[in-house]
């Protein structure tokens, strides 16, 4: 409890330090980050054009007010012109003003429409990445290579100044190749937004939305989930590492090797010891399950129930397997059967049945998972 009262004190003391820190000032930005793809460059130009129109209008309005307030005031004995609204201008302003505004509007709409055509351009891509939002992580599937990455928040200790902007497994993309993103979600609405490389479209359960990019510059690009997705909405950042094409090909073949090795391990029929499963399980649990059920198994009741001392984790193994593999309908619990392999599921379930004083002593084997599917 004392912690909660101490924090506000540091909150007021630290800002002054931060303000003087050069590293933070370097990140101090007034505008969109530098755009690095054809789409974002064109959108950026459009944004600068409409900003300029806004600025000009505001300058004119301000000049009008400064002059009027200076000139037309009673304290200067200015005599009000009671007939002003009856002159030619008063008679025709209802048509003149809309005509001028319409002119500005159509100029903006015309250039917006052509930019929108570029966004909706459906030229075949070199690479398709399916981006799936879930509470609260991003899953990236390289459709052509059948490789999958799960990306979650990097804890504060490891992320440092980039906390809430950086992840454990970033999305790796090649530069100078056309990438198509397919956006969807498993539970609630999310929005995958990395402003430097692509515009955002919502991730909606049951929908697939499409955006595209050609990244023209190597580097790390950051973003965040933009559509409110509940408790962890602030805690699902996005990071994209853009690397050169050949480098990407090497990276991709390595990912495939790792995947094959994992599949072989899961299918080997080996009987795993409790310790081995626990070590594997802890890592996998923290990555996949802890956002909702918490690292200490306490959950966020009542939507995300605690696993520590829970009836399912302490009860019959078959029921536990069923909930994890098939999900629990009518609740926020997802079906993990298609997302993880037999070994991973076995390790997680073993971990849940033995961690946090659950101590059932059960070592669930990949073969048990296979049988339960």
């Amino acid at each position: 409890m004392s912690n909660r009262f101490l924090k506000p004190c540091t909150a007021f003391a630290l800002p002054s330090l931060l303000l003087t820190s050069g590293a933070v000032l370097a990140e101090y930005k007034f505008n969109f980050p530098e755009p690095v793809s054809p789409v974002t460059k064109e959108v950026f130009d459009l944004h600068m054009m409409t900003s300029a129109v806004a600025l000009i209008i505001m300058v004119l309005v301000t000049i009008f007010f400064v002059y009027s307030i200076y000139k037309f005031r009673k304290s200067k004995n200015y005599e009000p012109d009671q007939e002003f609204h009856k002159g030619w201008f008063g008679t025709w302003s209802w048509a003149l003003v809309p005509a001028i505004v319409l002119g500005i509007d159509l100029t903006i709409a015309g250039s917006a429409s052509s930019t929108f055509d570029l966004i909706e351009d459906k030229t075949p891509a070199d690479l398709t990445v399916k981006v799936t939002g879930s509470q609260w992580k991003w899953t990236y599937e390289y459709m052509e290579d059948d490789v999958k990455i799960v990306s979650t928040l990097l804890p504060k200790e490891e992320a440092g100044e980039l906390y809430l902007r950086t992840v454990d497994n970033p999305l790796v993309l090649p530069t100078d190749r056309r990438v198509r993103f397919l956006h969807t979600a498993t539970d609630v609405l999310h929005a995958w937004w990395v402003p430097a490389i692509a515009v955002k479209k919502d991730s909606i359960p049951g929908y697939i939305n499409e955006t595209w990019t050609i990244i023209e510059k190597e580097g790390n690009y950051h973003g965040q989930c933009a559509e409110n997705c509940g408790t962890g909405h602030a805690f699902m950042p996005i990071q994209v590492n853009a690397i050169a094409g050949e480098e990407f090909d090497t990276w991709m073949s390595k990912q495939k090797e790792i995947k094959l090795a994992k599949m072989a391990e899961a299918a080997s029929g080996k009987v795993w010891a409790l310790d081995e499963l626990m070590t594997k399980g802890e890592e996998l649990y923290n990555k996949n399950c802890s956002a909702c059920h918490k690292p200490d198994g306490s959950g966020i009741p009542p939507v995300f129930p605690p696993l520590k001392g829970s009836a399912i984790a302490l009860g019959d193994v078959s029921k536990h397997l069923e909930v994890v593999i098939k999900g629990a309908s009518g609740t926020a619990m997802a079906a993990w059967g298609n997302q993880l392999d037999d070994l991973e599921l076995a390790a997680i379930i073993t971990y849940e049945r033995n961690a946090w004083e659950n101590n059932t002593g059960d070592a669930v084997q990949p073969s048990d998972v296979k049988a339960a599917r």
């Binding site: 303000l19 930005k29 609204h85 917006a112």
Partner: protein, 532 residues
């Protein structure tokens, strides 16, 4: 019709005690209750904003859990929209519509009583929805005021209470709107034709019509949500063949015109204040009336610009973009007419006029960022960032709330019979305007730099803008204590107000309200005045 003698006696003095207010059918008393209710809600909703800004003063989780934070974001919005701006505007309509059109009271006085007393009931339901999560009522409503499913399906009991709050508020608004529209159409003094009406009356006529058209869409949407939550339907559940986006269409079909429901009464207030203090008739009265009509029609058919990111067809998106940009025509025309009313006038700068000038400047700014947001490709970047938060606070605080403040200062002498303290009024104006700009101007930049809405914790790169914003918010919030002090001081005493406290008040309008004493008698215009 003849009236009995007992009826005549009954009219002499207001009833006393609690019953005067609970059973009131008097438009002035009900108007006062509306205004007091909205002032109380302003402090509750404002207090929530202060908690939100305190949490965002520094990155990390200081005071609030993530769900409670977003619950406050949600309830802050609902209170400010349904609990502050709409009741305050309805309170002003109750007071001023009969006085300005020379009617003895509202057309439907008992309905008037009901539409007010539904509001405290709704407020209690709303507060219960905040409280139940602390007593095992499930996850707080953490969706934002848009209540988008599927997230709103996950929330606990608070969401059900919020749905009932929406129903109650909807009934209250529809009844009030029917009453005001009926009064304006039927109860005008002989000779007071439509094109002689003060702009405030026109504004409320359009607002009333708009409310009657849009509230049922919201009521239907939230009822479907309730059925999805408890009765096994899947209107919005993709897994059951439903569509999460359908709710967004229903919500914004209500939600976008709702913006004009909030803005129009204040435009009406400006339409009486600007000519008064410029000592010159309203420029372009006819085009203002037609402009509001066009705004109403256009406003009904552009709702999907709040959802460009859902992935509509290119044709639909272009339609919504062009429709939205066209809204700048009637709005631009209105602001232009107000500016030309000042042109070659003889201005003085009392508190209502200071607010009016500041509103026109700041609302023009909100209009220009509105056009920026209407542009689809750019909106695909702005959407759901603090740029949007900054934009709609610039539209709604000057456009709606400050317009109502201007109205309060303008009509307070008429309502209470006392002049408010002009020096304190001016201090309040500068204090609140500077606080407001300090709060919301930096949010344009944090939004462009990439800060999404509705996040409880943010990266250190956004810290400076958020700190300026929070300091501004505390200044802005604190200024309202002075506002209440000025009001209480004026109600309790002060310089006696003349029947027509403002020199230019009658220029260009029939000005029936200024023919009455300040304060007006409990029953006014029992014999209708005649307008030439």
């Amino acid at each position: 019709m003849s009236t009995t003698t007992t009826h005549e006696d009954h009219h002499h003095a207001p009833p006393t005690g609690f019953g005067r207010w609970l059973f009131s059918t008097n438009h002035k008393d009900i108007g006062t209750m509306y205004l007091i209710f909205s002032l109380i809600m302003l402090f509750i909703g404002g207090g929530m904003a202060m908690l939100i800004r305190a949490e965002l003063f520094y990155p990390g989780l200081q005071f609030l859990e993530p769900d409670l934070f977003n619950n406050l974001v949600t309830v802050h919005a609902i209170i400010m929209v349904f609990g502050v701006v709409m009741p305050a505007a309805a309170g002003m309509a109750n007071w001023m519509v009969p006085l300005q059109i020379g009617a003895p009271d509202m057309a439907l006085p008992r309905l008037n009583n009901l539409s007010f007393w539904l509001l405290p009931a709704a407020a209690i339901l709303l507060m219960l929805s905040v409280i139940v999560p602390f007593f095992g009522g499930g996850t707080p409503v953490n969706t934002g005021w848009t209540l988008y499913p599927p997230l709103s399906i996950q929330s606990g009991m608070g969401m059900d209470l919020l749905i009932f709050t929406m129903h109650t508020l909807g009934i209250s608004s529809i009844l009030a709107a029917i009453n005001i529209v009926t009064t304006i159409i039927n109860m005008r003094a002989p000779g007071l034709t439509m094109m002689k009406l003060p702009l405030f009356i026109w504004a409320w006529l359009f607002t009333g019509i708009l409310l009657i058209m849009i509230m049922p869409a919201l009521a239907g949407g939230v009822t479907m949500l309730l059925f999805d939550r408890h009765f096994g339907t899947s209107f919005f559940d993709a897994a059951g063949g439903g569509d999460p986006v359908l709710f967004q269409h229903l919500f914004w079909f209500f939600g976008h015109p709702e913006v004009y429901v909030l803005l129009l009464p204040s435009i009406g207030v400006l339409g009486v204040i600007v000519p008064t203090f410029s000592r010159k008739p309203l420029f372009g009265y006819k085009s203002l009336v037609w402009g509001m009509g066009v705004l109403l029609l256009l406003g009904m058919v552009v709702w999907a610009h709040h959802q460009y990111t859902i992935g509509m067809s290119v044709a639909a998106t272009n339609y919504f973009m062009i429709g939205t940009i066209l809204i700048s025509i009637p709005v631009g025309l209105m602001l232009f007419n107000f500016m030309l009313t000042m042109w070659r006038g003889a201005m003085t700068f009392e508190t209502p006029m200071l607010f009016a000038i500041a509103i026109i400047v700041m609302f023009s700014f909100a209009g220009t960022t509105g056009v920026m947001l209407a542009v689809v490709p750019a909106d695909l970047q702005y959407h759901d960032t603090y740029f949007v938060v900054a934009h709609f606070h610039y539209a709604l605080i000057p456009g709606a709330l400050f317009g109502l403040y201007a109205g309060v200062f303008f009509w307070l002498p008429k309502w209470t019979g006392h002049m408010y303290n002009e020096t304190l009024g001016k201090i309040f104006f500068w204090w609140t305007t500077i606080g407001f700009n300090l709060t919301f101007f930096p949010q344009h930049f944090s939004g462009l730099a990439g800060m999404p809405r509705r996040i409880v914790d943010y990266s250190v790169q956004f810290v400076e803008f958020n700190q300026i914003s929070s300091i501004g918010a505390f200044i802005f919030g604190l200024s309202h204590l002075l506002f209440v002090y000025i009001i209480i001081q004026t109600v309790r005493g002060g310089e006696k107000a003349a029947d027509k406290p403002w020199e230019g008040a009658q220029i260009g309008t029939p000005g029936l309200e200024w023919t009455l004493s300040s304060p007006p008698p409990f029953h006014s215009f029992e014999t209708p005045p005649t307008v030439k």
